[in-house]
Symmetry: C2
Subunit: 195 residues, 2 copies
Amino acid sequence: MSTGSLEALIQALRRLPGVGVKSAQRMAFHLLQHDRAGAQELARALAHATEAVKHCRSCHTFTEHDLCEVCADPARDASVLCVVETPADQAALERSGSYHGLYYVLMGRISPLDGVGASAIGARALLERAADGGVQEVILATSFTAEGEATAHVLSEGLKSLGVRVTRLARGVPAGSELEYVDLSTIAHAMVDRR
Amino acid sequence: MSTGSLEALIQALRRLPGVGVKSAQRMAFHLLQHDRAGAQELARALAHATEAVKHCRSCHTFTEHDLCEVCADPARDASVLCVVETPADQAALERSGSYHGLYYVLMGRISPLDGVGASAIGARALLERAADGGVQEVILATSFTAEGEATAHVLSEGLKSLGVRVTRLARGVPAGSELEYVDLSTIAHAMVDRR
């Protein structure tokens, strides 16, 4: 498979996360042999998205406008700010229907091993956003992983100094689970936070 | 993640083989957040490859020219034709340095469950190619899977009626393996074909 433009396509596909040389070859083969229309559609979608998608001025999530749909919605409660790592996390919260405030999307998490510090995830911009007008509570909804916890910890230090209320999503036993199969750390948290 | 062009990108990425909605979201997020240059490179590579890559007139593999490099090489032995399923299989044979004849790339294999029959893999074109001038031997190098074996069987029927010699790659114990860990069918084949 030494054709120039084919080799270039394989190399370009390898820039996708989780795609090695074998997967890239398989993808290139599939697109060229069975789905050239799909390849053209993907090319157009990539070109259009890289041009059109930017960040919301207020919450930093992906949007094509100056303000995203959520931030532009006057019905949302502007006194609460929920901090999430990614737009996918935000979408999960929205699907749950349990939150009606605004968001701040970090677009990452603190990860010292990868050289991602507080400045890389825009901690300063979050502090400015939280200090700016009516925000009374900031809910830290970063992941419950080591990196997500570290991110929440660093952010809470800065936020508390602003005088806003800082909360974290509750830890506990997930819906539908049997205690027998829940990990011990989760059970211990659920016991401490019982209500 | 309800932005129009972002959603379109996620849907387009799902057309890649082995990519579900979660992977597509992760890919779109990675490209837009961390590698917009990569996204643009991929868009260009896709557009260019779908335009430039066509099939070799003689062996049917991917090429940007009328004849691929191998078919255009006068040093190759034109009396032997090796039938493989994909350009990746052809590349593996080339890397082994054990073959100096020409190829015929099926770009698929017979798979009745997927509705892929002999006509879909161009069996007729292969017969014409094998009948067309100096081909004395056709080596069937399709996979040693059920589908690859079925493909080899169907093709050998047609090829034998042309009067050319039809061979199949040898089955046996792979280099570097200990007999203890080789599957029984492979050992049985190696025993029958001992030399």
